[in-house]
Symmetry: C2
Subunit: 208 residues, 2 copies
């Protein structure tokens, strides 16, 4: 039996130290400016050690924010597992499965809460979505206007999570996964591969 | 020239008194339990006077929450102005127009903020959506499963508002109305009149 108190192994201390530094860096600087180098500086360790423990910044962020799955990795898996014609449905089914676990959806709801209650929280979410999640999703979308498509998918997923878990409006709150996939899957599929009128949006981009 | 200080006319005092009572009643009791009678009791006026100043509870709520448009009335107008085939697009265009004014979208964002930061805020939003908004939308939808359709429309609209104004993710944040109507209008139209698989959802309702 190991003693319940006492020093943890050195590498565990270092890992915890880096996570604390990462959490404070993301909170103060946002996702973009909180570099691996800055986190290492705050933890007084070598940047190589941060890479050693956590890989890249995206993985460091998901661990520090206690996000149970790496959204970028999930996108890569989904793209590898089947054709793009079924990607909307498969992605939604996967996401509903992750959300089923309350501890797994808590970080997402915390990020939504942070975004509506402070500009800094909104900035962290905006930068994380734009740099980490959209980067992977956009790489997987071969249709025109990948940024718009990724943002539309995000809008429907956040709204669905909001209605299902935050406001808990029926019948969305209690609907089973099959029902939600039948109802919302085609929306995501159209945003991924359907017509979303690229010309008008490019015009909008130029004039704003 | 009228004096800048001094007593306001009596009816204006009464109206303000009722609004204060309504705001506290909605905050403490939620939308459902805060009846016109309860608001009248708190304001020490006759319930008929509350009806006289504000009409029904929905209108009292939208005024107390400083919501600039009565969502139920907007739904009625939209249904009356054209065919159901174009309702998704027309509704989205109307909503985007309302949101354009920062003071008009502030109450909606305040309601979203209240819902994510407290269970009471979530309850007020849930009851208001279910009783006031959905009641009108559901009355306008002749397809099966009107509750599911109304909740799906709500999910896409809240998610769109969240991405456009709270997180401000591009290109949704700066897209013009035409671009958003082209991209999201068909989603709302499908939720209004398309196939959303009623059988599976009815099954889900029975088993939960």
């Amino acid at each position: 039996l190991s003693p319940r108190t006492g020093r943890r192994p050195g590498n565990s201390d270092t890992r915890a130290l880096i996570l604390d530094a990462a959490a404070s860096a993301f909170a103060e600087l946002g996702y973009h400016a909180a570099t691996i180098r800055e986190v290492a500086r705050r933890a007084s360790v070598d940047p190589a050690l941060v890479h050693h423990y956590f890989g890249n910044k995206e993985a460091l962020f998901t661990t520090a924010m206690e996000i149970p799955v790496d959204p970028g990795l999930v996108v890569e898996q989904l793209v590898g597992e089947g054709t793009v014609d079924t990607l909307g449905e498969r992605a939604l089914r996967k996401i509903l499965g992750v959300w089923e676990d309350e501890s797994a959806r808590a970080p997402m709801l915390a990020m939504i809460r942070g975004a509506v209650t402070s500009e800094q929280g909104a900035r962290i979410m905006r930068e994380f979505i734009s740099e980490a999640i959209f980067g992977r999703v956009i790489g997987a979308i071969e249709a025109p206007d990948p940024e718009l498509r990724a943002a539309l998918i995000g809008s429907q997923l956040i709204g669905l999570a909001f209605m299902r878990f935050v406001v808990a409006v029926e019948p969305i709150a209690s609907a089973d996964h099959d029902a939600l996939v039948e109802a919302v899957g085609p929306t995501l599929q159209r945003y991924l591969t359907g017509e979303v009128d690229s010309i008008t949006v490019q015009h909008a981009r130029m004039t704003t």
